[in-house]
């Protein structure tokens, strides 16, 4: 249907074009005509003057006197007698005389030349228009072809050669469409990447769950057998530990899945960061107290009221993760120091602990999903290896960054988080 519509519009446009062309031609002809008429008028006056001169000459006797008279004085007067003489001899003013004939020839030449001029001019303009139209049509076809490709989902990255366009606007249009194509491509790729990532997540989850579930199964099987009371208790406790582990893991996994499936939107609302951090501290306070760990919070007065666009719930989770890690991997009677520092574009938050620290080689790995360190101390603690991964995801969505370095005096760890003001 689009085809027929386009055909119809082309015809209509074609008709309009012809109408315009005719109008333009008529206009130009009119101009040339006016021009010709004024030249004709001038020539006629010229002819008239010639006749009058002759009349004057014939009028009076003294030829030389009359000649100088004509040349010196502006007007040619006293021609009446001369006119009578001409009449007497049958020479009309606009009659059959040599001068008149010459005048006529001149007229024809002038008008003829004008016409020729108009025709040639039009010829040139038309030819130029036609070639330009052809070029523009071709260029338009190139653009159309590109859009057709995109519609069919064929979005390849054409090599960046300067597109051979003469028309500046078409060239810009082409480049804009190319960049639209790039965006389309990015979207496509993001979509397939998300699918892949979901597949990965699913296999990761099943893998991670296998171990504790298998251990649980084994423990149960053993419980089925004949055991002493002590052994019963021991294995029951083992089951308990496994179940707690699974519970932990499930909790964290649910969080990640929701986040990756886009079920959870992080909503950035400008609000007081200090409050969010305080809340995080309050929620881990009990655990810290159990280990006699002191949590200090340093922030200049002016920073206490500062608003940062963030999602209170999720960012609080992120801070809780970090604090819980700090508590988990610190011994008794240690300190954890939080500080807020104002930078130009970002607010800098540092969480410094006096714990077991992290080996430099593992700095990148600790943020990976399910990664837990290898040392005995770490294995002793419960943990799913998801905390830091989640934290980093959350902070990324806040357009911030997180990294780690050695803590004070090279002991423990310091996590540095940067969150933008806007």
């Amino acid at each position: 249907m689009g085809q027929g519509l386009r055909e119809g519009m082309r015809k209509k446009n074609g008709n309009n074009k012809y109408l315009r062309l005719i109008k333009q031609v008529a206009g130009l002809l009119l101009l040339i005509l006016l021009f010709d008429i004024s030249i004709l008028k001038i020539q006629y006056d010229n002819y008239q003057d010639k006749i009058l001169i002759i009349c004057k000459m014939m009028n009076d006797k003294d030829g030389l006197m009359k000649a100088s008279d004509i040349l010196k004085k502006g007007q040619i007067t006293n021609t009446t007698q001369g006119k009578e003489i001409l009449d007497k001899y049958g020479y009309k003013l606009s009659g059959d005389n040599e001068l008149y004939r010459r005048f006529q020839v001149q007229e024809i030449i002038i008008v003829g030349m004008s016409f020729l001029f108009v025709i040639i001019l039009f010829g040139i303009i038309y030819a130029l228009k036609v070639t330009n139209r052809k070029k523009t049509l071709n260029e338009l076809r190139t653009v159309e072809a590109l859009i057709e490709d995109y519609k069919r989902g064929v979005v390849e990255q054409k090599s960046y050669i300067e597109p051979p366009f003469q028309n500046e606007e078409l060239k810009n249009l082409y480049e804009e469409i190319c960049s639209l194509g790039d965006t389309l491509k990015l979207l496509n790729e993001r979509e397939s990447k998300e699918k892949e990532s979901t597949k990965e997540l699913v296999s990761d989850i099943s893998h991670q769950l296998k171990t504790p579930v298998a251990a649980l199964k084994t423990s149960f099987e053993i419980l089925q057998q004949d055991l002493s009371a002590e052994e019963r208790i021991e294995f029951t406790q083992r089951c308990n530990v496994q179940i707690l582990g699974i519970e932990n893991l499930l909790g964290a996994l649910i969080n990640i899945s929701r986040m990756e499936a886009g079920m959870i939107e992080i909503q950035l609302v400008n609000q007081c960061l200090f409050d969010t951090m305080l809340e995080a501290i309050n929620r881990v306070y009990e655990k810290a107290k159990e280990k006699h760990i002191e949590i200090e919070f340093e922030a200049k007065e002016e920073l206490k009221g500062i608003g940062i666009p963030h999602d209170k719930k999720w960012l609080c989770e992120a801070f809780i993760n970090l604090l819980e890690n700090a508590i988990k991997y610190s011994n008794q009677n240690k300190k954890i120091i939080l500080s807020m520092i104002k930078m130009v574009t970002f607010l800098r938050v540092e969480i410094c602990d006096e714990g077991i620290g992290i080996p430099q080689e593992e700095y990148n790995q600790i943020f990976q999903r399910f990664y837990r360190g290898n040392s005995a101390q770490i294995r002793k603690e419960s943990g799913s290896g998801i905390g830091l991964y989640l934290t980093r995801e959350i902070i990324s969505r806040h357009h911030g960054t997180i990294r780690v370095e050695p803590g004070l005096n090279k002991k423990g760890s310091k996590f540095i988080i940067q969150l933008p003001y806007k």
């Binding site: 990255q157 054409k158 090599s159 960046y160 050669i161 300067e162 790039d182 491509k185 990015l186 790729e189 990447k193 520092i341 930078m343 130009v344 574009t345 970002f346 800098r348 430099q360 700095y363 990148n364 943020f367 357009h399 911030g400 960054t401 997180i402 990294r403 780690v404 370095e405 540095i416 940067q418 933008p420 806007k422």
Partner: protein, 222 residues
């Protein structure tokens, strides 16, 4: 993900015989659109040379560099210059600002050279993000290192390039300012969908990148 930068057996060799130095030795890497890649290596490992070749600033002895599937070194000098100007933004360790013009002029200079119309709203947005609003009339020598680097970043971002190549952008900055500059670069390039390739000798910065490439003696050791 589509490749935006790809190298094939890229090498840069200086000297001959006993004096032969392979600054960059047979490097094959590919960087995807939108990635933040950190190239890490010690001093003299060849990373600067590599970056310069990626940006078409230096001719390789062997091998090819493809930017958006365009073989960079097939282009003629002037076409290469235009390509570079439009597609790549550079940030150097020593800022390289023009000392005789003020901050605003430094930022829009490349745009003016290109004869392009300025998207003023976009540039104002960058300036606001980088915290430079109050410094627009200052001359570079009245600014701190961190501020100068911000101006250099604004300049690199102003022409909306597809790729930003940064050579030790935090080399002359203190640790906290460094952190901020990196976070800024990451935030801006993510916001505008750009690819960021950064050279650094500081492995801590790599924690913030999407991917790290390690260079040793001109070779990639990933």
């Amino acid at each position: 993900m589509k490749n935006i930068i790809r190298t094939e057996n890229l090498s840069k060799i200086y000297g001959k015989g006993d004096n032969l130095v392979k600054a960059v030795n047979n490097v094959n890497l590919s960087i995807m659109q939108g990635e933040f890649v950190a190239i890490i290596g010690k001093s003299g490992s060849g990373k600067s040379t590599l970056l310069h070749m990626l940006g078409g600033l230096d001719l390789p002895t062997e091998g090819k560099v493809y930017l958006r599937d365009q073989d960079l070194f097939q282009l003629k000098e002037d076409k290469l210059a235009v390509f570079r100007r439009r597609r790549i933004g550079f940030i150097f360790q020593s800022y390289n600002l023009v000392s005789s013009i003020n901050v605003w002029e430094n930022i829009v200079l490349p745009l003016g050279l290109d004869g392009k119309e300025m998207d003023e709203a976009f540039i104002r947005d960058i300036i606001a993000t980088l915290g430079l609003e109050s410094k627009l009339h200052n001359l570079p020598n009245t600014l701190s290192g961190g501020q100068q680097q911000r101006v250099a970043i604004a300049r690199a971002l102003a022409s909306k390039p597809d790729i930003i190549l940064a050579d030790e952008p935090t080399g002359n900055l203190d640790s906290k300012t460094s952190d901020e500059v990196i976070a800024l670069l990451k935030m801006s390039t993510q916001k505008y969908g750009q690819t960021l390739v950064m050279i650094t000798h500081d492995a801590d910065i790599a924690q913030i990148a999407d991917r790290t490439i390690i260079i040793e003696d001109g070779r990639v050791v990933e």
